[in-house]
Every structure is written in C-alpha cells, then in structure tokens.
Symmetry: C2
Subunit: 568 residues, 2 copies
C-alpha cells in the first residue's frame, strides 16, 4: 500500500479505457511533431550532437509516465536547463569532445540522483529558496543569453562565451565573416516563426477552421520551417556555400551505459547539477500545478521530484542530457487532450520512430533554422512585465530580481542564481529582524489593549506591556534585547515589563537565550518580567526547559489578567 505512493501509475493505469487511449495518442502525435525540432535545437544549445536531444526524449518520458505525479506534464530537454548544462559541462571540457559528453552524462546522473533523493527525503521545500523574483529574473536573463548565443548560427560565424558581454564582443568581432545564405535562411525562419506565432491561429480561425484545430496547427509550425529550409538547403546544396547543417546523424536507438564514476568530476559538477535540479524542479512544478488545477487535480511536489529524478536517471544511462517539464510542450499536451502520462510514453514511441527512420532526412537541416526556433522560444521567456510588476510591488524584492538579472547577464547563470538566492534570504532575514512591535495600553473600560502611539489608552509609569508581532528567532532575538534595553533606559520608573505573546508562534533556541538574558538584565535593574497570552505549543517547549522557574515575574493567561494583577 505504502509503496504504491511512489508509483502514481498504479492510480490511473487500472482504469485506462479506450477513449483515454485515443485522446492520449492524438496528443502524443502533436507533441512528437513539436518535440523533434525542439530536441535537436536544445541539444545544439547544450553543445551536444543533435541526436542526444532525441535520446533524451525517449527513456525519460517513459519513466516519467511511471513515476510522475502530473497527468499532463511533458518532459524532455528545455532551453534554460540546456544552457545551464552547457555552462556546467563547459567548465570541465571543450564542446565536441568525448569528455564533454561524458561530463553532461555525469551532470544528468547527479541531477537524477539529487532529485530522487530529495523526493525520498521529502526535501521539496528546498526549491522554496528560489524565490519568485529570483527565478523570474533568472529565466528572463537566461532567455536573453540564449538568444544572444544563437546569433552565431544565424550569422554563420564562430562566437563563444557564457555571458552577455563576452557573446556580444565576440559577435562584433566576427560579424564581418557573416555567411549570407545562412543569414537569409535564418532570418526567413525567424520571420516565419514569428508570423505564425503572432497571427496564424486567428488567420486559420478566420478561414473556417475551428479554434482547437487552428491552435494545434499553429503549434506545429516549427516542423514546417524545418521541412522547408531542409528541402531548400538540399535542393540548392546550400551546404556547399557555407550553410552549416545538422549533418549525418547515426540512426538507431541510443546505447545503454553507465556514466563515469569519477569522484573528481563529480566534485566539480555537483553544484551545477544542484542548480539544474532546483531550477528544473521549480519550473516543472509550477507548470504541473497550473495544468492540474484546471481539472481540479493536484500534483504531489515530493513525488514530482521522484518522477523528474527517474527521468534524469533514465537520460543518464541512455546517452541523453538533463531533462525537465517544458512549459510550452506541456500546455500543448494538455490542450491536445492528453488525459494520462501514457501520452508521454506514446510521445516516446514517436521519437523512437523518428530516431530509427527519420534521421537521414534531416542531414540537410540548417543550424540557422534550429537557432531561429530557439530564439523565438526563449524570447517568450523574457518577461519585462514581471520585472515592472515586482518593481511596483516591493523595492527589496525588485533589488533581488535586478541583481539576479544583472549578475546572470554579466557573470553567467550559476553566479546569477547564487547571488539571487543569497540576496533573497538576506532580505527576508533583514525584514524579520526588526519585527513590528508596540507598547500597548488598556482601552478604558474594556479588556482590549492597543498601541499607545495610535490610541488614547490607559498607561502606568511603573508598567510597560510590549507586544511583538512576529515569532522570535535568531534574526530578531537581539532586536528584542535592544528594544527592551531602550525601554528600560527611557521609562525610568519601570518596575514591571509584560511581554504579550499572542503573535508568537515559535521561539527558537537563540530567542530563548535572549529571553533568559533579558530576564537576567531586568533582575539586575530590579524590574520584573511577566508573560501573557503565550500559545500552547510555545508554553510546552518553555516548560520543557523549566524556563519559568528562573523568571523574575509571573505568567498570565491574558494581558488583562496581567493588568488587573499589576495595577490592583
């Protein structure tokens, strides 16, 4: 029974029916058509031979169908993860070498192991470290870097670099060597893809197609660009005029093998693998949850980690590359009517078919076309509206976002995400380090107590009631010490300090120490420290260490009780 939890397939497979089969197969056909050019393109983006992209779209999809908790997530190579793969593996080896492919496989394996382990240990909350401004800024900056990195294929020149200044400088240097046929093919593809994305769907609806069919046809436009430009290149032998093409791809299924177990390489790649895992997971979960919600379904983030982990382990042993759930592809899968993860398995069958029989046909596919599909795909990731939105909402969140964007653009993806995460945590700790607190007094004739600065309330020079509106923990424990010290200094007749604890859900060991210190200091100054409105769980914990045995005051159920007793 308990094991079943780890195999979501056991939930849907027993009830699998013929009409579900039909729906899943139709979705699979559409996703396959969309996935073929994407796989090739993202393998190229990751600096890998194009067939690796296809390989990474077989085993992972089948494994996700068994272990994944989303019904409609379509996994495979995606743009941002491919860029991160290129950066991480590029630190160890040169693109085009067997060592580079080996490094990518280790990265995939590590990422698979990390995701699976995080899932088994229920560590999904680790992804929370990637706050929204950071992930959103990171994706935008990555999109820009990816687009810039593809300009080389569009112009038919050699440029290199992992961040924007490098890429642009390199392009300016090399632009004189532009290959005109390549640029023309690339620009034509770019225009075609933009035009179809912008207007094809409404055009098709206008000429009488129904909305659904028009949408599906529009999504398969990239395959049309592939077919047309491949045919042109083949027919006019543009490859002889300097147009770079995909070339001969080995047909047949990937061989199974275990990546190298080299501790030195593992040590150099673990950070890259961790970032790839977290970013991939966050993106997958957000797509998965959005789609699940539309059908009142739900995904389990910890099981999702296991699903993605299994997918990556599958990719690692079948000559693939890191995979995760892709946004546009999952939406197409959902819209095309996929009902179960079986659609993913059928997609894998489609890719197997392509790998076995279609690869000879794409030898003349220009790299410029693939670059165009990448550019169109990633520029939709660039979200300036989100940046503006964050700017209007919160200055500090915006600063974390801006830092992420600038560091990612200027120093690369790994530095960008690390700076963003650290800054988010810093901002959060700073924000909670000075919690809202108020000296409160009694609203005459009632049992209510309110901020003395905002309301006209009863006070007493010998008594101060301090209400802190936040749990007490290491980041704000010392603030409380300061607050009390200031209070004692300024209210010279003070004899009783009451801490009103209605908003305190937790007191950690640092805050406990601070409370003990405050108690000691107040004792020295002949002031009693009282407590009121302590919540049950907080009280239990304090009683565990006999905190109140040493307190120079009393514990009251309510603030009013304290007031009555102290002013009697």
């Amino acid at each position: 029974m308990n094991l079943k939890r780890f195999f979501p397939i056991t939930e849907w497979l027993p009830q699998y029916r013929l009409d579900t089969l039909n729906q899943d197969m139709l979705a699979a056909v559409i996703v396959t058509i969309m996935l073929i050019p994407q796989s090739l393109a993202y393998a190229m983006l990751a600096g890998l031979p194009p067939e690796v992209g296809l390989y990474a779209s077989i085993a992972p999809l089948i494994l996700y169908a068994v272990f994944g908790s989303s019904r409609t997530l379509a996994v495979g190579p995606v743009a941002v993860i491919s860029l991160m793969t290129a950066v991480a593996a590029g630190q160890l080896a040169q693109q085009g070498t067997p060592e580079y492919i080996g490094a990518v496989l280790i990265l995939t394996l590590l990422s698979g192991l990390m995701l699976t382990l995080m899932g088994l240990l229920r560590l999904g909350f680790l992804a929370n470290f990637l706050s929204h401004p950071v992930i959103s800024g990171f994706i935008t900056a990555s999109g820009i870097i990816i687009a810039a990195s593809q300009l080389k294929h569009l112009f038919g020149v050699q440029i290199s670099g992992h961040h924007l200044p490098e890429l642009l400088m390199s392009l300016i240097h090399e632009i004189q060597h532009t290959n005109t046929p390549t640029l023309l093919l690339g620009l034509a593809s770019l225009l075609f893809l933009y035009a179809t994305r912008a207007g094809l769907q409404s055009l098709l609806v206008k000429i009488g197609l129904n909305h659904y069919l028009a949408g599906m046809l529009t999504k398969t436009a990239p395959i049309l660009a592939v077919v047309i430009t491949t045919w042109i290149t083949f027919h006019y032998r543009l490859d002889l005029q300097g147009v770079a093409v995909v070339g001969q791809i080995p047909s047949g299924l990937p061989s199974l093998s275990l990546p190298s177990i080299d501790p030195g390489m593992w040590q150099q790649l673990w950070m890259g693998a961790l970032l790839i895992s977290l970013v991939g997971f966050v993106e997958s979960v957000s797509v998965g949850q959005t789609l699940a919600a539309k059908r009142r379904q739900r995904i389990d983030p910890d099981q999702e980690l296991i699903g993605l982990g299994a997918s990556n382990l599958g990719a690692a042993i079948s000559s693939g590359m890191p995979v995760t759930g892709g946004f546009s592809r999952s939406v197409v899968n959902f819209d095309a009517g996929a009902q179960t993860p079986a659609a993913g398995a059928f997609t894998a069958l489609g890719i197997i078919f392509a790998t076995l029989w279609l690869t000879p046909l794409i030898a003349y596919l220009p790299l410029a076309t693939l670059a165009a599909t990448i550019i169109v795909a990633v520029l939709s990731l660039v979200d300036f509206k989100a940046i503006l939105h964050t700017y209007h909402y919160s200055g500090s969140d915006f600063s974390a976002m801006l830092a992420t964007i600038l560091v990612t653009l200027g120093a690369g993806v790994e530095a960008g995400i690390i700076v963003g995460v650290l800054l988010s945590i810093l901002i959060h700790l700073y924000r909670t380090s000075r919690p809202h607190s108020a000296i409160i007094g009694r609203v005459s004739g009632t049992e209510h107590f309110r901020n003395i600065d905002r309301h006209s309330v009863e006070t007493n020079p010998g008594i101060a009631i301090l209400r802190v509106d936040e749990s007490l923990y290491f980041a704000n424990a010392r603030y409380l010490e300061d607050r009390v010290a200031a209070l004692v200094k300024h209210q010279s007749e003070l004899k009783h300090l009451v801490l009103a604890c209605q908003a305190i859900n937790h007191i950690d060991a640092s805050a406990l120490e601070s409370l003990e210190t405050i108690n000691e200091r107040l004792k020295e100054a002949d002031i009693c420290l009282h407590f009121a409105e302590i919540k049950g769980p907080v009280m239990d914990r304090l009683n565990n260490v006999k905190f109140f045995d040493h307190i120079n005051g009393r514990v009251f159920l309510s603030t009013f009780d304290a007031w009555k007793y102290l002013t009697h």
Copy 2:
C-alpha cells in the same frame, strides 16, 4: 549634532570628574596586570611574536575610548579571534615568516574596514546570522581546539594542525620527545591557576579580606604564575635544559605603517576577515549589553561596530593583530569600578609602560606558563550545559549546534561556522515553510471563528475559510498553493474560498505571485477567492499593484462579514 552620534566620547568626557578618574584609574591598573600575560599568550596562540599582543593592546584601546559605545568593554586580543587569525593567515604563509605577519595585518585591516563599514551602513543585523546555538557551539569547539593546540607548549614538543584529529595525531606521534622540565613547569602553572580560580577567592574572604579585594587579587593570579615561573626558569637556567621561553622582546613602541594593499592577498583573506569580524562583534555586543544593563545603560550595536572597527584599524597600522571585547577582562574592568571608556585609555598607558620598561624582564618567561593561562581561560569557554540546554529545548536547534561543533572540531573554524550558519538558515526556512494554518468555522451565535478540527463550529460545504498563521513569503508561498490545491480537491462542492489574513504581517513578491496563481487556478475551477481581515500596510501594498482588480471574489473587513455575505 549628527556627527556627535559617531563620537560617544562627546557624551561622557565633558562631565568627567575627579572621582570618576580615580575609579577608572584603579580599574585600569587591575586590567593592565591581567592583560599583560593575556596579550603575550594570545599573540603566541595566533602564531605571532609575543610583543604583537602588547602592541594590539595600545592603539585599539585608545580608539575604542573615542568611538566605542560601551562604558566598560575592555578590548584587546582574545582567544577565539586569535585562533581564527592563525587559521586564516596560516592559509597564506608559514608562521614565523614576515609574510605571515603581513597577512595578519591585512586581516586586521580588512576586519577593521568591514566593521566600520557595517557600522556606517547600519548593517549590525548581519550578526544575527550567527544564531545562538551556532555561536555557542562554535565557542565550545574553538575552546577545545585551542586547549589541544597548547598541549605542544605544555609538553615542549612540536605539533601542528588546525583541527582536533590533526592535533591529537600529531601529539601522539611526538609525545616521546616530551621535555620534562617544561612539562613540570606547565603542569605546576596549570594546577596553580586552577586552584586560584577554584578556591583563592573564598580562601581570601575566609582569612578576612573583603569580597571585592579578594576577587581582584584572584583575577591577578596569572601574573603571579608568570613572575614565579619566569624567576625559576631564570634562576635555574631551565632554558638551557630545553624549556622554551619568550626570549628577547624588542622594547619600545610599535612602529606605525600601512599593511600591504595586495588585491590577491585581500581576496584570499576577506572570508576569514568577515568571520573574525562577525564573531568578534557578536561576542563584544553580548558582553557589552550585559554589563550596560547592570547600570541601566545601553549600547548601540551600530556604533559598537564603528568602535570595534576603529580599534582594528588602529591595530592594523600599529603592528598589532585583530582585537575585540574580551569577556573576562570586561567583567574585571566593570567589577573594578570602571565608569567610562577612559579606563581603557589608562589601560593602554599601562601597556605602553610595560612595552617600554618591562619587556626585558620576561625574556625567561616559559611558553608553558602562557600555554597554561590559555588552557585555563579557554576551558571556561567550553559550555556543555549550554549544549544540554539546547538539546532539551529544540531538536533542530540542537542539530545546528552539534553540526557546528563537529565540523569545527573535525574540519576547522571557518568550515564549522559556515556550516552552522547555513544550517540555521535552512532550519528556519524549513520551519516557516509549513506555517500553521487552519480551516475555521463559526462558533454558533457569535462572531468568532475557530479551527474546525478542534471545535464544534458551523461550516458550509460550499465555503472554506482558511486562516494562515504566518506572514507569506518565498519559503511558504508554494506551501499555500499546495494547501489550496488539496482543499479544492477534497471539498468537491467548494464555491467560495476565504483567506483570513489576521496573522499576515507581510506578503512578499513570491507570495503575491502565488496568490495570483491561486486566483487564476480557482477561477478555472469556478471558485471565488475572497479575503478577510487584511492588515493596513499589507492592503496598501496589494492596492499598489491593483491586485484586487483581477480577483475573482471580494475583500471583507472581517471574517464574519464574509460569512454573512456568503451564507445570507
């Protein structure tokens, strides 16, 4: 007026009176006697010539008197900071070389710059990162390492290492070369120091001395040990029998010079300098605040940063080493009646006197005696009671503490503190990532709403009221999405979800995004999202981005209003 804030001396100097002068001078004499052996010993611990300890007890004390905000803090070299100095500088150069001394000066300068900058930018909250379990575990582990590192002087052998396994293995190897006179002197000093610490004060009180005088005499016992063992070593020329001694110390004041401005070395030392700054600051502030509170005074943490920063800058340009406020020394200063930081300046005068005229007398001071004073001092830092206390209070805080201790002992001080800090933050984020939340229902006949799992309350299958007892931010934003998704899945007739926000003090950009996502998803599922009891500042911020324009529900002042409206 505003500049005065940065010069606390302007507060007390104008009112300086003759009786204050007397009190400060008496305290200064006692602290000087205590500080001489400590300075020499901590310089030795830091791997520096003994005179450096004296130099570091001159300029820093005078500068602290001008810039420090504590009236009674006694700054100078302290044990833990000396150990951290040895570790950080040891990564760059060999002890005993001019490069090593250069590295220590850069470390001191960097630490001074960082502290001053943090003070000017009011970044004192950064010290909050060092949670109590981490700092307490770190100090305990450092004490053990320091004691172990001093065994070499006690046995008169050569051992090396920066963490416990290294030190102990090295000692086992070398113990056969033990120098017997050294060991005898060392053990005698150790016994003497322990005995005086444990029993001298009560003995002196018994034979008729008053409590205060007995206490002061006890604190000066180390100088007695120094005098006696120096005399024995000189008289019997034990140095010729292999007893290591301090040797000739250059007499005279330190020369003033600027540490080297070498970007490469700065880059390698900044992390060490940061950790030294933070640990030193935390220790100083906690001593300073405790002493200030006894006289109903207060210290300003940000000004304290400037005071410590100035002290370290002073040490850096006067051939010194990193300094901070010492615990035992400050307590002695306070107990001896110091009233103002002038006591510190007078102590500096005492050390100048020692540097000019007493240094020839300590040429025969055995290193074993200094080692004994260090061991006795640091073993009082080892606080097993605090470990047990934390264990009883909170398992997660205890795990952070234990990790800090084990990593510090096993891998050194820098790794220990970094692991501890990261683990504390992780634990905090985990703790708040699943905030307490409850579905609430109406207590019949009242306007109160309570947890439906704990109270018998009115509910309605079409309505769910969710109360979250924590501010919403990146660590728990996705939890909220999950919580709502689960709710929607299980309450199939749900039409209205009300978020009761009385406990929410802040919503960050990540949580805003999650709320928008939840709203979108609920819209798809034909469920309205309502809000109740939003606090003023939270409301203002949400209005800034026109959040409620897109919400598929209404905003109510109170939960009861929402209930009335939805059930009317």
